[in-house]
C-alpha cells in the first residue's frame, strides 16, 4: 500500500473499499516502527488497532456521513507528548514525567478521536516545549527527516518530522513562540498556530499560559484546515477558550485577489535572513502579485524587542507553571528521597530531574518575577508586549489583509550547532514570537528549498480569528505557487 498524500485521498480509498482501517493502521504502525527521525516517544499500537476495529464496524454499518460526523475517520495521527491521553504515558520529553500515565484526556485529543482519528503515538519534542530544535528532549533529539545531520526545528520537532517522513498523515503540536511554525518550516510541512483562545488548552501541559496554543501540522493546507476545524471552538474546561463560532473553510470560493492588500513588514527582512529565504520570499511575492494582489511595505517598529519580551514573559510564566512538579502527586520520586530529613531537600532531589534548559528558564523566570526585579523585567516586558500587539493592530487597521514574512531567518541547522549558546538558539524565533505575543493566527507554508535541498518556509500572519482566510490564501499558494 502506498502512502497517502491527503486525508481526502485516504477517505476516498475507505469509501471505495480499496483498503480497510486496520490495514491502514498497520501500515502506518510499521512506518512508526521503522522511523529514523526519532519522532516517537511512546507508540500506542494496541490502542490504535482497537480504535480502528471499532470504527471499521461503524463504517460497515454504512450510511454514515464521513464529512459531517467523522471528518477524521481512519486518519493516522501523531500527537505531541505534552498533550495528555488517558492511560498512555505522557512525558513532555522530560525525565521528571518519565513514568507519568495521566488519568484524563486533553480536549483536543478527545475531539480528534471522536472525529475518528487513530492516534498512533506520542511525539518527541524539546523538554516541556522549551527549545527551537528538539535537541532538548531528555531522551533523544529529533532528526531532520531528509537530512539526518540537521535538526527538525522545535519544539514540536517530532510533530513536523513524523508528517514529513510519512509515519503519520497529520499531527498535533503546540506553539508558544513558534514551536509549530519553526519545525514546519524546517521540515517542509504546513503548520498552523491558531489565534490565542481559539483552541482549548485543557490537557496541554502548561509552559507559558498566555502564549500556548495547540495546532495542526500536515502535508497540505486542506488537511491542516480539517484538523483545525475539529479542534477549534469553546471548551467549558478552558476558561480562556473563546466562544466565537468557527467558520466553514470553503476552498472552492475564489479569493478576490484584486481587493487583497498584503503587508511586507520591513523588519522581517533583516541581515540575519539567508539568501535562500530571501529568494523564497521574492518568489512568493511574485506569485501573489500575479494573482492581482497589491503589496505594501509596512513597519512593525517594535519587532526588534520581540525576542527579549517573549523570553522574559515565557520564562516568568514557566517558572510559575513548573512549580507544580513536586514528586508528590505524580511524576518521578527518586529512591534517594526516602531518607531525606526535610521537604525542601525532597523537592530539590525530585526537581533535579529537570534538564538544563528547563532549569535555566525556571531560574530566569524566578529572577524576572522576584521582588526588586519584577518591575524592571516582567512588567517592562508586558508593557512592550502591548506595543508589539499595537504594531499589528495598526497595520491591520490600514486595510492590510495579511502579512507575508519568512518563518525563520534560515533553513534547518546542524545538530549541536547552537546548543552551546542559548541566546543564538532563542534568536531563531525572531519572526515567530511577535504573533505569539500579539495572539494573532500564523501559518507556516513550504515555499521551496535551498541549494542543499533543505525546505524554506514562509509565514502568513492574519487578524485574530481569521484562520479561515489564512488557510484559503495558503491553499491558493500551495496549488499554484513556488515549486508547482
Amino acid at each position: 500500500m502506498s502512502a497517502y498524500s491527503s486525508i481526502s485521498q485516504l477517505q476516498q480509498a475507505y469509501r471505495q473499499k480499496k483498503v480497510t482501517l486496520l490495514e491502514v493502521v498497520d501500515t502506518y504502525l510499521q512506518k512508526v516502527q521503522a522511523d529514523k527521525t526519532q519522532s516517537y516517544l511512546t507508540i500506542c499500537d494496541e490502542r490504535a488497532r482497537a480504535k480502528a476495529k471499532k470504527l471499521a464496524q461503524v463504517l460497515d454499518q454504512g450510511a454514515i456521513d464521513i464529512d459531517e460526523r467523522y471528518p477524521l475517520l481512519g486518519v493516522p495521527m501523531g500527537v505531541k507528548d505534552n498533550l495528555v491521553l488517558e492511560g498512555v504515558r505522557t512525558t513532555c520529553a522530560s525525565r521528571i514525567l518519565e513514568n507519568y500515565v495521566p488519568p484524563y484526556t486533553a480536549t483536543v485529543l478527545d475531539r480528534i478521536e471522536k472525529a475518528g482519528a487513530l492516534i498512533l503515538g506520542k511525539l518527541n519534542m524539546d523538554e516541556f516545549a522549551m527549545g527551537s530544535s528538539s535537541e532538548n528532549s531528555a531522551f533523544r533529539p529529533v532528526l531532520h527527516p531528509t537530512h539526518p545531520d540537521r535538526v527538525a526545528g522545535g519544539s514540536s520537532g517530532g510533530s513536523a518530522a513524523a508528517v514529513r517522513a510519512g509515519s503519520c498523515l497529520v499531527s498535533l503540536g503546540s506553539d508558544t513562540g513558534g514551536s509549530i511554525r519553526l519545525p514546519a518550516s524546517f521540515c517542509g510541512v504546513v503548520g498552523l498556530k491558531p489565534t490565542y483562545g481559539r483552541v482549548s488548552r485543557y490537557g496541554l501541559v502548561a509552559f507559558a499560559s498566555s502564549l500556548d496554543q495547540v495546532g495542526p501540522l500536515g502535508q497540505n493546507v486542506e488537511d491542516v484546515a480539517r484538523v483545525f476545524k475539529v479542534i477549534a471552538g469553546k471548551d467549558p474546561l478552558d476558561s480562556t477558550s473563546v466562544s466565537l463560532p468557527v467558520p466553514e473553510i470553503n476552498f472552492q470560493e475564489k479569493i478576490q485577489w484584486k481587493k487583497i492588500r498584503i503587508g511586507l513588514p520591513k523588519e522581517y527582512l533583516s541581515d540575519a535572513v539567508s539568501p535562500a529565504v530571501r529568494q523564497a520570499m521574492e518568489a512568493a511575492k511574485k506569485f501573489f502579485e500575479k494573482q492581482g494582489a497589491q503589496f505594501q511595505e509596512v513597519s512593525l517598529p517594535h519587532t526588534r524587542f520581540a525576542v527579549a519580551t517573549y523570553y522574559l514573559i515565557a520564562v516568568s510564566e514557566a517558572s510559575s507553571n513548573l512549580a507544580r512538579f513536586d514528586g508528590i502527586r505524580y511524576g518521578v520520586r527518586p529512591k534517594e528521597t526516602e531518607r531525606l530529613a526535610s521537604l525542601e531537600e525532597f523537592y530539590k532531589k525530585v526537581r533535579s530531574y529537570f534538564g538544563t534548559e528547563v532549569k535555566r528558564r525556571i531560574l530566569l523566570g524566578t529572577f524576572a518575577l522576584s521582588s526588586g526585579y519584577a518591575d524592571a523585567y516582567y512588567l517592562k516586558a508586558c508593557q512592550v508586549r502591548r506595543l508589539i500587539q499595537q504594531d499589528f493592530l495598526k497595520v491591520f487597521d490600514q486595510k492590510i489583509d495579511f502579512l507575508l514574512t519568512p518563518t525563520a531567518p534560515q533553513t534547518a541547522f546542524k545538530l549541536g550547532e547552537k546548543t552551546r549558546d542559548p541566546l543564538q538558539m532563542y534568536l531563531m524565533d525572531e519572526f515567530t514570537v511577535p504573533a505569539s505575543l500579539a495572539g494573532i493566527p500564523a501559518l507556516s507554508l513550504p515555499a521551496g528549498e535551498d541549494k542543499e535541498g533543505l525546505p524554506v518556509g514562509i509565514q502568513l500572519l492574519g487578524r485574530s480569528f481569521e484562520e479561515d482566510f489564512l488557510l484559503r490564501v495558503a491553499q491558493a499558494f500551495e496549488k499554484e505557487g513556488v515549486g508547482n
Binding site: 507519568y100 495521566p102 488519568p103 484524563y104 490565542y196 483562545g197 498566555s210 469553546k234 467549558p236 474546561l237 476558561s239 480562556t240 473563546v242 466562544s243 517594535h302 524587542f305 527579549a308 519580551t309 523570553y311 522574559l312 517558572s319 508528590i328 502527586r329 505524580y330 511524576g331 518521578v332 528521597t337 531525606l340 526535610s342 521537604l343 530539590k348 532531589k349 526537581r351 529537570f354 538544563t356 532549569k359 535555566r360 531560574l363 530566569l364 524566578t366 529572577f367 522576584s370 526585579y373 512588567l379 517592562k380 516586558a381 508586558c382 508593557q383 512592550v384 508586549r385 502591548r386 506595543l387 549558546d421 542559548p422 541566546l423 532563542y426 505575543l437 500579539a438 495572539g439 485574530s464
Partner: protein
C-alpha cells in the same frame, strides 16, 4: 551587568527548589548573564504610560455560562484513578516526607 544579579542566581535556585551542581552554576550563570545583557535592549523601548499586557485578549468578557466542573472531579470514583498516578500513597492519601 549588576554583579548582585549574578550572585542572586544561587538564591533564585533556592526559591525555585533547584539543586545545582557547581558546574551547572558556572554554566548557567554565564548563560543567564548573556541573556540578561541581551534583554537590557528593552530599556530602549519607551513604555511610560503604557499599560502592561498580560493576556492577548484582555478585552473579551468573561463567559457567563457556568463552567462544567473538571471532568475528573465529577465522579468520586476518579479519586483512585488520580491517586494511582502518585509515586507513593497511604490508604486514600498521598504519602509525603516528614515536614517537621
Amino acid at each position: 551587568m549588576d554583579q548582585n544579579v549574578i550572585q542572586s542566581m544561587q538564591s533564585m535556585a533556592e526559591l525555585a527548589r533547584l539543586e545545582l551542581t557547581s558546574a551547572e552554576i558556572k554554566q548557567l550563570q554565564a548563560d543567564i548573564k548573556n541573556i540578561l545583557e541581551y534583554v537590557e535592549l528593552l530599556n530602549e523601548a519607551s513604555v511610560s504610560n503604557v499599560e502592561p499586557l498580560m493576556h492577548p485578549f484582555e478585552g473579551l468578557q468573561n463567559s457567563k455560562t457556568p463552567d462544567r466542573p473538571d471532568s475528573l472531579a465529577q465522579d468520586s470514583n476518579n479519586a483512585q484513578k488520580v491517586l494511582a498516578c502518585a509515586p507513593d500513597v497511604l490508604q486514600d492519601g498521598y504519602k509525603v516526607p516528614p515536614i517537621l
